[in-house]
């Protein structure tokens, strides 16, 4: 089932087109990463989906239903903005209680929901602390919890990990995995690619308001990377190995990487790769290790967005 679908979604601010005919399809239960440089239109897209902005053109369908106003969107969507503040003079439980009231949750259930959410985001012992005393990571988790008070099926998280220390980042990632396990559709935007690569099922790459790619992660790699980076180590005579490879068809750039590794760009399928190894050993090169470097989202991103940014 498709949780989010947009059709020709466009948002203009004066002359600037922030989002340009976006056709987004996100399956239910996926953790979708929206990648793009700063100013690419990620935040605008999320705000459009949350009903905080009105599209200049195009339609949004949530759970198959056309969204016409913010009220309608607010019931199925939990939204966590990229920059958010907290109210002063408010305790952690009151903060969640306030948003639970905003969603018209009856008093009988409110208490229970607040406690469950605090447990979920691991803030139970901060229940009676003032919100402004929380650390950045805790606030981020609290903000995530606030987006969950009405148990939305769709979560829109704008840069949920920005500004977090590595530990808090790992915690946030764990939390998102857990939410996905609950069957929620989660859209996460980020310009930090590594954190998305580790957890997303699917990614969309957006630049200058246009969606360049949107597919499951593996498919993206396959689509984009026709060539691969090979990484090998030889026992001795590195120079000769490099020279040999330079002359091999399909090999692009070859260079000595850190230490005694050699890296090379190679266009060819698995059979061609195997043939290359055979060729090297046949020529008497003592190959210690031979392999392909892990797929790198950053690399993919750079390739896709190449030219447009510069």
């Amino acid at each position: 089932m498709i949780a989010i679908r947009t059709h020709g979604l466009t948002k203009r601010f004066g002359k600037l087109t922030a989002v340009d005919h976006l056709d987004l399809v996100i399956e239910q239960g996926t953790l979708y990463g929206l990648i793009g440089p700063n100013g690419a239109g990620k935040t605008t897209t999320l705000r459009l989906l949350a009903g905080l902005l009105e599209p200049s053109e195009g339609e949004i369908y949530l759970d198959g239903q056309r969204v016409r106003d913010a009220q309608q969107a607010s019931r199925v969507i939990g939204y966590m903005p990229d920059f958010f503040g907290v109210y002063e003079d408010m305790m952690v439980w009151e903060y969640l209680d306030f948003f639970a009231r905003c969603y018209h949750i009856p008093a009988a259930q409110r208490q229970q929901i607040v406690d469950e959410l605090l447990a979920l985001v691991d803030l139970t012992e901060k229940r009676d602390a003032y919100v402004q005393t929380l650390s950045r990571g805790m606030r981020q988790r609290l903000c995530l919890a606030h987006a969950l008070v009405h148990d939305p099926q769709i979560l829109l998280l704008d840069e949920p990990a920005s500004g977090l220390d590595p530990r808090a980042r790992v915690e946030m990632r764990e939390l998102l995995r857990e939410l996905r396990a609950m069957g929620k559709t989660i859209v996460v935007s980020s310009h930090i690619l590594s954190e998305l690569a580790e957890m997303c099922d699917a990614v969309g790459i957006i630049e200058q308001g246009r969606l360049l790619v949107s597919a499951p992660l593996q498919e993206v790699y396959r689509q984009v990377k026709q060539d691969r980076t090979l990484r090998l180590r030889v026992l001795s005579d590195q120079e000769r190995a490099i020279a040999l490879m330079r002359n091999y068809p399909g090999i692009g750039e070859v260079y000595a990487a850190n230490g005694d590794h050699i890296e090379a760009n190679f266009v060819g399928d698995d059979a061609a790769t195997a043939a290359l190894l055979t060729h090297l050993t046949a020529q008497g090169v003592a190959v210690v290790s031979f392999g392909e470097t892990a797929n790198d989202l950053e690399d993919v991103f750079l390739r896709i967005t190449q030219g447009i940014v510069s």
Binding site: G51, L52, P81, Y87, D89, C102
Partner: protein, 532 residues
């Protein structure tokens, strides 16, 4: 951590429960929780009450000092004067406080959500803009109302001194509350419009200060340049200071200039706010300014409220649908209708001139409201018995209910001045009439005597002597006519030269007997003797 199955799945049924359970506005709950937390709210309240108490005491000392300086110890009872001065001083003190506190509480209400970056989170919830606006308004005003109402017990010290009617106190409260609501709404409007607390605060204060001082400035400039011509009172309609002054103006200590001189207040504050002016046919009672102010403030608040509900929205801020527009116009039309109806219903109180004080004093014609008709003296057409009934009823009303000394005070003697009307055009009551009045008052607790002149029974220490024998003096006016069945009579009760109360009574024949059915809604308290 939770298992997926234990997360509450209540989405379906909570929709139904919304209708069944009343829930308080979340914004009010949140705002009040954080506002009333800690020491700040209570420190402000305490400071406010201490300030009010200090102002009361200060005013008391100032009045006493002024009286001793001007009159020495020969001044009779200054009690009413103290009461009135305190009343006026407190009203202005609280009004100014409201003008300065209200913006501080409201200009950050909407823009603060932008500043703190909580606005989007709020907007992503199903809360409707008007719920948010209403919550912000109620919680901010709730605190101001707390201040105003907490000062009431303190302000009731005024009643210990007397000189102020509870009705006047009520009017003052209405003005304070309405001003707080209007200025609060103004702050919210600018907050929603500008989205920046700093700018909203500056603009709100600018508008408030302009409504406070620009009308007074224009009015006084026009007064100075037009050589005695009274400028249109409409200039002052929006000014809350003039509204307060118009409540106070009904007590003549204020009107006679004593009050401003004590407080060091400029005369311009009071000159335009007078509700009783001399017309060609005598004293005209104009609709007090504050009623116009309240009607305008109500309309202004409504308009600002409707605009703000639109401005608070994240999208389509300036696009108003025809349905919204129609609803807004309907609300405004209903309000306008109600206000117009209220003015129409009470028009009779003000548009008729009553021949209260006898001689017409020449006055610029533009003051006289249209619809004022000269009322012929028709008491000749009344039988002596009718006149006696009317005057006796007025005397009873004054002594037993309106003396401002409480119910049934026991004055041993009631002196009724035989002369009717003011000095220049006074007539003496016939002996036939005085006897008839005495007969009607035969069951009266106090002994009743007629005197030729009030000076006969005032202790000979002018100008503030007490009435001899702890009695009271009653001065009656001519019988005028509001319409064919309603007589108007001016009556006043003096317990000392400066301690007096007066009203214009309405009388109608009920079951064949003339009875007081009300007054014209205006009264004055403590007037220096007309005869001086």
């Amino acid at each position: 951590m939770l298992q997926p199955s234990s997360l509450p799945m209540y989405q379906e049924d909570h929709e139904m429960k919304i209708k069944l359970h009343y829930q308080p506005n979340p914004v009010i709950v949140k705002e009040l929780r954080s506002r009333m937390r800690g020491w700040r709210a209570f420190a402000i309240l305490t400071g406010f009450l201490l300030g009010t108490a200090a102002a009361c005491y200060g005013l008391y000392r100032i009045v006493m000092a002024t009286i001793y300086y001007n009159y020495g110890r020969s001044f009779g009872s200054p009690s009413a004067l103290i009461g009135q001065t305190m009343f006026g001083g407190l009203a202005l003190f609280e009004l100014l406080l409201i003008c300065f506190i209200t913006p501080a509480l409201t200009t950050g209400a909407i823009s603060g959500e932008h500043d703190h970056q909580t606005y989007e989170m709020l907007m992503a919830t199903p809360l409707r803009p008007r719920t948010i606006l209403w919550g912000k308004l109620v919680s901010a005003l709730g605190y101001i109302f707390l201040l105003i109402f907490a000062a009431i017990p303190l302000a009731s010290v005024i009643f210990l001194f007397g000189g102020v009617a509870p009705k006047d106190m009520l009017k003052m409260l209405i003005i304070l509350v309405a001003t707080a609501i209007t200025y609060g709404m103004l702050g919210l409007f600018f907050s929603a419009l500008l989205k920046r607390t700093g700018r909203a605060t500056v603009l709100t204060y600018a508008v408030i200060l302009s409504t406070l001082f620009i009308p007074l400035f224009i009015y006084s400039m026009l007064t100075l340049t037009s050589q005695g011509r009274e400028p249109s009172r409409a200039i002052l309609y929006l000014n809350p200071l003039s509204a307060i002054a118009s409540v106070l103006s009904l007590s003549t200590a204020f009107e006679s200039g004593m009050f401003p001189s004590i407080l060091g207040m400029p005369y311009i504050l009071t000159s335009g706010a007078m509700s009783r002016v001399w017309g060609p046919q005598g004293l005209i009672v104009l609709r007090p300014l504050w009623q116009y102010t309240m009607a305008l403030y109500g309309g202004l608040t409504l308009v600002l409220y409707l605009l703000s509900t639109q401005l608070i929205k994240p999208v389509r801020r300036w696009r108003i649908g025809w349905r919204g527009l129609l609803a807004a116009l309907l609300v405004l039309a209903l309000y306008g209708g109600a206000a117009w109806g209220g003015f129409r219903l009470t028009a009779a109180r003000y548009s008729n001139a009553a021949s209260l004080m006898g001689t017409p004093t020449p006055v610029a014609p533009w003051i006289v409201p249209s619809g004022v008709v000269a009322v012929a003296k028709e008491e000749e057409n009344l039988k002596i018995q009718d006149q006696a009934q009317i005057y006796a009823a007025v005397v009873r009303q004054l002594v037993e209910h309106d003396s401002s000394f409480g119910e049934n005070p026991h004055f041993p003697v009631v002196y009724i001045v035989r002369r009717i009307g003011s000095d220049d055009d006074s007539t003496e009551m016939s002996s036939e009439l005085t006897e008839a009045i005495l007969e009607k008052l035969s069951d009266f607790a106090a002994s009743v005597e007629f005197v030729d002149d009030q000076l006969q029974v005032i202790a000979p220490t002018p100008p503030t002597g007490k009435v001899l024998n702890d009695g009271v003096i009653i001065i009656l006016g001519d019988i005028g006519w509001e319409d064919e069945t309603t007589a108007l009579v001016d009556g006043s009760l003096h317990s000392a030269d400066l301690v007096a109360t007066g009203r214009t009574y309405r009388l109608q024949r009920v079951d064949g007997v003339w009875q007081v059915v009300g007054d014209t809604g205006t009264s004055w308290i403590s007037q220096a003797n007309q005869g001086e």
